[in-house]
């Protein structure tokens, strides 16, 4: 039964990573939508910032987030399988 704590830690880390990633995505989209009007007053690369975020900025951030969370999850999985072999 020595693998139980390791397994639980692995579960918690996986769940936490998934929740954190999703919360970041939804919070960013909701914030960009809520403040779209005010952000549009600011210019960025000759785009209004509110439009830029929804059309491009957030999408680029989501791609980065998708690859980042994949890498983090692989790290979590590796530490779990190494711990399991001990």
């Amino acid at each position: 039964m020595s693998e139980q704590p390791g397994r639980d830690r692995h579960r918690w880390k996986t769940l936490l990573l998934a929740l954190a990633t999703l919360i970041i995505v939804f919070a960013a989209v909701f914030a960009a939508v809520a403040f779209a009007g005010r952000l549009d007053q600011i210019g960025f690369l000759r785009f209004p910032l509110g439009f830029y975020l929804l059309a491009q900025g957030l999408l680029i951030a989501m791609v980065a987030l998708a690859f980042w969370s994949t890498r983090m999850q692989e790290r979590i999985d590796r530490s779990f399988s190494e711990g399991e072999e001990l």
Partner: protein, 613 residues
């Protein structure tokens, strides 16, 4: 390990697709030269549409298989990038290719919810569902639910409830593909529908998921090249830089000016159902950059959430959940899918802005007597009309009728690019539509065959199992073809309906099945039923007011259905029996990222036993 050796992808895959890409590029270049040498446009169009079609069919034939694992899971050896490309093609589809760009043309800012939702939905699916479906390794999503809860009726029920999302999308994609074929080949609409139905049935029957994967990779390449080349050329013409995504911001000033000249003034948001543009040509009445001028802030978020949940639980995407060689590869493939989808979602607004600027500058600011010559070409294709209704000598925005699904084809014509660019764009859209249509067809028919028909005869041998699938695929594509030959559908509304029903029906049950140990078959059934009933109610009321001002639109019904499904699933599970030890063990095993797919273990044991005898 012997299994890992077996799971290795073909090492020449990169070379094959490199050759394919260069062959397609040389086809485009040769056709461009032939056009300059005086080939009639008709021949250029036919070559550009037919040669890639022959290529897809040849690839599918090359990937034909009689092996069950190849047929249903592409042999579990697809490299992540290729699966990501196929995921993106299926998610965007011909509907996204033509209707999303068109919606951006009409609504500008307000349409961005759709592109954001695709990307967010795919991320959500990759975090919450896909790795666990890969570990389970079931060939279809209903089969996963059946194994998770040890319940055959649940499996059949889930398979039947896949009908709305998969069949709606199948119909939409076939229609998009048929429109393109009828536009550039001398075929009537009915014949074009029949052609598309036959092509996707052939692709799907000869090799199932295996031929789907490899033809979809080719179709993705054709789609990406065909979309990017005209867009980049126009970007160079307008902004001197070949990066449309970065540079279209500098066109906003001239765009705003021409919108003002054409008489487009800021609008107030209406109801979502009427705000989304229809298929028939109509004037564009909202400034591109105005935030929430057609769709209100709340509707924007509702649409975003509905499509996000729908994309996360879309059966055709989850059906690809078992095709890579490991859980880690499956995660990576979703990340690549997010990348490809985001790339399209970033480029589409640039395309819409270019088209709007070109059209408004050239038509809406010219005297009605001296309209550009390309307007006649576009009118001949029924993509754009201008008539000076109030005879004031100028065309205003209200007198310019634009077809929503033709915006991508308007771009090369309005920029006066050679005709080959127009058919290149059309071939790209056709490729993506075919990839998506074949995938929806396989998801629907493969699941009906394997999850429902086999209930009657569960002990069928290898060949009969595939034969059942072949018959189901042929019958489904025939039914879709017959339906489309007579029915008129608006592809974007149908696609939104499909995403909404996927969100309402499958999101809650998958969330509970994968993340809640206590969930049992009763809870899963209640969750499926509650979501489906809500969507059915929305369709029955058809958006009419139910109580006071409250209207149950499709999009809203999806969110309510998902919430009711979750609540129903919780209550049903708590009222039902405690999960058996076998179910609990299955739940535990799902979370272990290493090792074989759970579905493959009995087969492997049988194979080992047979080998040792």
């Amino acid at each position: 390990m012997s299994s890992s050796r077996r799971r290795q992808a073909n090492p020449h895959l990169g070379a094959y697709y490199g050759i394919l890409t260069s062959a397609f590029v040389s086809l485009v270049i040769s056709l461009a030269m032939f056009e300059q040498l005086g080939w009639p446009e008709m021949w250029v169009a036919r070559a550009m549409i037919l040669v890639p079609l022959a290529l897809y069919l040849a690839i599918s034939l090359g990937a034909c298989t009689l092996n069950v694992e190849d047929f249903f899971a592409s042999g579990r050896r697809v490299p992540p990038v290729y699966n990501g490309a196929a995921l993106a093609a299926v998610l965007i589809g011909g509907t996204g290719f033509f209707a999303y760009t068109g919606t951006l043309f009409f609504l500008g800012f307000d349409a961005l919810a759709i592109g954001l939702a695709w990307t967010a939905g795919l991320i959500m699916s990759g975090l919450l569902f896909v790795p666990y479906l890969r570990k389970a390794g079931a060939y279809t999503m209903p089969a996963f639910l059946g194994q998770r809860f040890r319940s055959r009726p649940l499996r059949a029920m889930a398979s039947v409830l896949q009908l709305p999302p998969a069949a709606f999308l199948l119909a939409a994609e076939i229609k998009v593909a048929a429109l393109i074929i009828a536009m550039f080949l001398p075929l009537s609409h009915q014949l074009a529908v029949a052609c598309v139905a036959i092509i996707i049935a052939c692709v799907t029957i000869v090799g199932g998921m295996r031929s789907l994967t490899w033809s979809a990779s080719a179709q993705f390449i054709v789609g990406a090249v065909g979309f990017a080349v005209p867009l980049i050329i126009v970007s160079v013409l307008l902004t001197n830089l070949p990066a449309p995504q970065l540079t279209y911001g500098e066109l906003f000033e001239p765009l705003k000016r021409s919108e003002t000249v054409a008489g487009v003034s800021p609008s107030a948001p209406g109801e979502l159902a009427t705000a989304l543009p229809h298929e028939q040509p109509r004037p564009s009445a909202k400034p591109f950059l105005q935030a929430f001028g057609a769709v209100s802030r709340t509707d924007f978020l509702t649409l975003f959430l509905c499509l996000t949940l729908g994309a996360a639980s879309l059966p055709s995407l989850l059906a690809r959940g078992g095709v890579t060689s490991s859980v880690a590869d499956q995660r990576r493939s979703v990340a690549w899918g997010v990348f490809f989808v985001a790339l399209f979602a970033i480029s589409a607004p640039a395309l819409a802005a270019f088209v709007k600027l070109l059209v408004f500058q050239d038509i809406a600011q010219a005297p009605a007597s001296a309209l550009p010559s390309w307007l006649n070409d576009l009118s001949a294709y029924r993509l754009l009309f201008a008539r000076d209704a109030n005879t004031d000598g100028a065309i205003e925005a209200a007198e310019l009728f634009v077809a929503r699904d033709g915006i991508v084809l308007v771009l090369p014509m309005a920029a006066r690019l050679p005709f080959v660019c127009t058919v290149l764009m059309a071939a790209a859209g056709l490729a993506i539509a075919l990839a998506a249509a074949a995938s929806h067809l396989f998801t629907l028919a493969g699941s009906l065959a394997d999850d429902v028909i086999r209930l009657v005869d569960p002990r069928s041998e290898v060949l009969p199992r595939l034969m059942v699938a072949w018959v189901a695929i042929a019958a489904t594509s025939l039914a879709a073809g017959v339906f489309l030959a007579f029915a008129e559908i608006d592809v974007m509304r149908v696609a939104i309906m499909a995403f909404a029903s996927a969100a309402a029906t499958f999101f809650p049950v998958l969330l509970l099945a994968i993340w809640w140990r206590r969930c049992n078959w009763l809870g899963a059934m209640v969750a499926l039923g509650a979501g489906f009933a809500t969507m059915a109610a929305a369709v029955a009321f058809g958006g009419a007011p139910i109580a006071g001002q409250f209207r149950l639109t499709t999009v809203l019904a999806a969110l309510i259905g998902a919430a009711l499904g979750l609540i129903g699933g919780l209550i049903g599970s708590l009222l039902g029996p405690k999960p058996t030890p076998a179910e609990q063990a299955y739940f535990e095993e799902l979370r272990d990222p290493s090792g074989d797919a759970l579905h493959d273990r009995p087969q492997r044991r049988t194979a080992v036993a047979a080998a040792s005898q």
